[in-house]
């Protein structure tokens, strides 16, 4: 237990240092991006057909929310606020705290990507096992081919195909936000609307991701099937279902790390899918904030993604020792 806590403390210290380094790096990177939020908003309004008078009036207020001063003073101010868990105020949504903006978008993304990731993991693992067990036959070949093919199709292409066929040509699903005419809350129609708007993006996510899990699982299972303990189990006449459990538990270990990291990346990982489905999550917020040169929102979003990835890494590292006794023993031995 003491060793575990010591490891945890070490991970956390390293994590905080990593967060500080990445935060500093993104702070500088964001400010190196060319573009002025006020000018960009003004010209965008002009390109949307708004008259110069109205565009001027609309963007006038933005200037007061753009961070001013030297980079050093801005950085000091940013870190000080960060220590107080204050991510600052949005430039494009004046007066709204970045925390509110980020949290508002985060809940939609987490639901979507969590569902998509778990779906792709389950499908990928199951089909990966089948592909490995039937690797000599047509089934194995077809599954491997399918995995490679889907793994190679970018998420945004998959999303556009689904949008075109299932929301435009055949109106089986809706894109965009949850139906605003429904009373928000814990009621059937509203929940159904939430799910129905998230199903297709989640499916797009799963379809474009499960190929990776399938191929990794297949190769892992094939590798485990060749291990001596499987042969020994078979020779001892252990039931095939139990042998299958041995195989699955051992073959799953590499995928466990991949899954943990995927969960860490999920916060910023659905940018293209959210854009294609007009889904109001972190991806959409990130794209808007970059387009608007909203430094505060960009910093907040990047920070959250960084923290999520680092925490997922730590969790994967710690939990790996729980699921794999060999790692635990090696750790104790060291």
């Amino acid at each position: 237990m003491v060793a575990f806590l010591r490891r945890l403390a070490g991970h956390l210290v390293r994590g905080v240092v990593m967060i500080w380094i990445v935060t500093t790096f993104t702070f500088v990177l964001i400010r190196l991006m060319p573009g002025d939020p006020v000018q960009t908003q003004y010209e965008k309004l002009l390109s949307q057909g708004v008259s110069p008078d109205q565009a001027r009036a609309q963007v006038q207020v933005t200037y007061g929310f753009v961070p001013h001063g030297s980079w050093l003073s801005q950085y000091g101010d940013y870190l000080w606020k960060l220590l107080h868990l204050d991510l600052g105020t949005s430039v494009s949504a004046q007066g709204v705290s970045v925390t509110t903006e980020v949290m508002g978008a985060l809940k939609w993304t987490v639901g979507l990507v969590l569902a998509g990731t778990l779906l792709s993991f389950v499908i990928g693992v199951l089909l990966g096992v089948v592909a490995a067990m039937r690797r000599e036959g047509h089934v194995g070949s077809v599954l491997s081919l399918l995995g490679s093919l889907l793994h190679g199709i970018p998420q945004y292409v998959m999303a556009l195909v689904l949008v075109t066929f299932l929301t435009v040509k055949v109106k089986a699903f809706s894109t965009g936000p949850v139906d605003g005419l429904l009373d928000p809350g814990f009621n059937g129609p509203y929940l159904a609307s939430i799910v129905s708007h998230a199903v297709l993006p989640a499916v797009a996510f799963a379809l474009s991701s499960f190929g990776g899990y399938l191929l990794t699982m297949k190769s892992s299972v094939v590798s485990v099937l060749g291990d001596d303990f499987i042969l020994a189990s078979e020779l001892r006449g252990i039931k095939p279902s139990i042998v299958f459990r041995y195989v699955a538990r051992n073959a799953l270990l590499p995928l466990f790390t991949v899954l943990a990291l995927s969960l860490g990346f999920m916060i910023g990982g659905a940018v293209f899918i959210e854009h294609a489905f007009n889904y109001s999550g972190m991806g959409a917020m990130l794209i808007d904030s970059i387009g608007n040169r909203d430094y505060s929102e960009m910093s907040g979003a990047f920070l959250l993604i960084t923290v999520a990835v680092i925490l997922a890494n730590i969790a994967a590292d710690l939990l790996y020792s729980v699921v794999d006794p060999r790692v635990r023993r090696e750790g104790a031995g060291a």
Partner: protein
């Protein structure tokens, strides 16, 4: 095992079908009196405050102005009544008296009064800019606001300027309820404004007052009432991420004209999202939407979808960085104008929403004709696609052709980089067409793409591009149109009622044009000075100035006008009818304002 798998698949299929059905049965489709439109920047966390850039007060629906600008070719001060029923302005633009709608009420039942408008003016001062600049002697600034009676208010222009933008800047003001915003303002707000804008006040007092107003402005713009208090035809009911729902305001002064009981505004951040909604038949109206031909066909194939179009006082131009050789030579610019086939470029770049520019005047073709007459426009150089004339101009610039390529006087080949921003499909396609046309005649031209529009604007302002697309002819105010060519981007900055010219590379001057140039028939002209005069001239004087500026622009070519934009909008007549017709002067307004003006009826 097989049976279990089959049962599982059936369950998944049933669930998907149920969810799919739930997704399809949007209430917006089942309720015939719910009007669905689009809006950008919908943010569930944003305040219900029209002064906020990302607001949940939506123009024409639950956010009201004193007046609504008409889409006019020549009159930037043409307005439809909003909360102002009528107004009179003295000929010198110094005094503006506004009468409010007699029956105007807020959604809480209280009447809209002149005090509300005065509070709105204080709010506008706290945000600055336009007629409400918090600076002494600002051109066209408000000098005094007087409540004459509960329904009448007077605005005086500050002494020292007689700016013709005064009326439109005041009428464009958002009107907010005093009962909600008044308590957020200090009691001495008008004393602060008076000190901050008084030329006789000491610098210290002015600066202190300006700082206080600036701090107040930030606080006020962040403020959002918990409940919407609207003087418009609708009141905000709720905002979900990406969608706002508004209900009809029974207290609206023209409630009898409003057909829908509810309005749903769907958020969009890109044209593709609007296209999908339109192709699915989800929208009753979509404001200005850029559409390629194939997309337009799909949209119009949906039952009830109809296109309406009108002029847009915006032109796409190819602007030069005139501090870069050989583009500093007017003969080279003229040669390029002869070499670029504007009809071909428009057909490739903006076949749906563009009309080839007749020639370069600084105004869109129709506005130029309306201001200075068809004859005067026809007498200008039309720059037809003419290779011989282009060749003659290039030779005047000291160039010669060798091996099929144009060579400059210093022996270097004449090549060009044409910059376009990523995401502007019409500019990219048009740019590629131009590059191909120029390369074919011996001027190797490469199209380069900036990462996004923000990067493009930043880098063009830094003078990093030699040739790039630029929106020009922004009307209807002629000052705004010519300020695109002879404003800050070309070195002229306003100081009070005057302008000063900065050299290329300084103070945002990336076009690098000469401060003056001699034009046959005009003599030596300072186009920045003339442009500035447009802001303070009556229509007759403007006509004379425009004649000079059009001739100057046509001769000196700081930019080549390629096409005039057409305002393309889509409406669906399945649920509602009586939309504005083609070329209506309300096409730059939102559907909420159309309803106020008597458009949009239930089918």
């Amino acid at each position: 095992m097989k049976r279990r798998a089959l049962a599982g698949l059936t369950a998944v299929g049933t669930l998907a079908a149920l969810l799919g059905t739930a997704g399809c049965t949007d209430s917006s489709e089942s309720s015939s009196d719910v009007f669905t439109a689009i809006q950008t920047n919908i943010d569930a966390n944003a305040p219900i405050n029209p002064y906020n850039q990302s607001t949940n007060s939506f123009q024409g629906y639950n956010a009201m102005k004193l007046g609504w600008p008409k889409n006019s070719l020549t009159d930037a001060n043409a307005f439809y009544p909003g909360l102002a029923a009528s107004w009179t302005e003295t000929p010198d633009h110094l005094k503006l008296t506004i009468k409010l709608q007699p029956n105007a009420k807020w959604s809480d039942g209280k009447p809209v009064t002149a005090d509300d408008v005065k509070t709105s003016a204080a709010m506008s001062f706290s945000q600055g800019g336009g007629a409400f600049a918090v600076a002494p002697g600002a051109a066209g600034g408000v000098g005094a606001v007087k409540v004459l009676d509960p329904k009448t208010i007077e605005f005086d222009q500050s002494p020292g300027s007689s700016n013709n933008s005064f009326l439109r800047n005041v009428l464009n003001m958002w009107v907010i309820p005093k009962s909600v915003y008044g308590p957020q303002m200090p009691a001495n707000i008008w004393d602060l404004i008076a000190t901050a804008t008084d030329p006789k006040a000491s610098d210290k007092a002015q600066s202190a007052a300006q700082s206080k107003i600036q701090a107040l402005g930030k606080k006020l713009v962040e403020y959002g009432p918990k409940k919407d208090v609207s003087a418009g035809p609708f009141v905000l009911e709720r905002v979900n991420p990406g969608e706002a729902v508004l209900v009809k305001n029974k207290y609206f002064f023209a409630a009898d004209k409003i057909a829908p009981s509810k309005v749903v505004l769907k958020n969009y951040s890109g044209n593709e999202q609007i296209w999908n909604y339109l192709i699915s038949g989800d929208l009753d109206a979509a404001i200005y939407t850029a559409t390629p031909t194939n997309v337009r066909k799909k949209i119009l194939a949906r039952q009830g979808n109809t296109m309406i179009s009108g002029f847009s006082p915006v032109a796409a131009s190819l602007a030069f960085n005139q501090s870069v050789k050989p583009l500093n030579d007017v003969h080279v610019r003229r040669a390029l104008a002869y070499l670029i086939d504007r009809k071909l470029t428009t057909r490739i770049g903006e076949s749906v929403g563009g009309t080839p520019a007749q020639t370069t005047t600084g105004l869109i073709s129709d506005a130029a004709k309306a201001w200075i007459g068809q004859d005067a426009v026809d007498k200008l150089n039309q720059y037809p696609h003419d290779l011989a004339k282009a060749e003659a101009e290039l030779k005047k610039a000291g160039m010669h052709k060798s091996g099929g390529k144009w060579i400059q006087a210093d022996g270097k080949p004449f090549t060009l980089n044409l910059q376009v921003p990523n995401g502007f499909s019409d500019w990219i396609a048009g740019g590629k067409s131009i590059a191909s046309q120029l390369t074919d005649v011996g001027i190797a031209t490469e199209v380069k793409t900036s990462a996004d529009y923000a990067t493009y604007l930043s880098e063009i302002a830094e003078g990093k591009y030699e040739l790039g697309f630029w929106l020009t002819a922004l009307g209807p105010a002629t000052y705004d149109a010519y300020a695109r060519l002879y404003g800050p981007s070309n070195g002229w900055n306003q100081f009070g009622a005057n302008v000063r010219h900065s050299p290329a590379g300084k103070n945002g001057n990336w076009m690098g044009g000469a401060e003056t140039a001699t034009v046959p028939g005009l003599g030596t002209v300072n186009p920045g000075e003339l442009t500035n005069q447009l802001a303070q001239s009556d229509p007759a004087q403007q006509k004379q100035i425009i004649a000079k500026l059009a001739k100057y622009s046509n001769d000196q070519l700081p930019a080549i006008q390629l096409w005039d934009y057409t305002n393309i909008q889509f409406v669906n007549t399945t649920r509602f009818t009586h939309f504005p017709a083609n070329d209506s002067d309300v096409l730059r307004l939102y559907p909420g304002t159309w309803m106020q003006l008597g458009y949009i009826k239930k089918k």
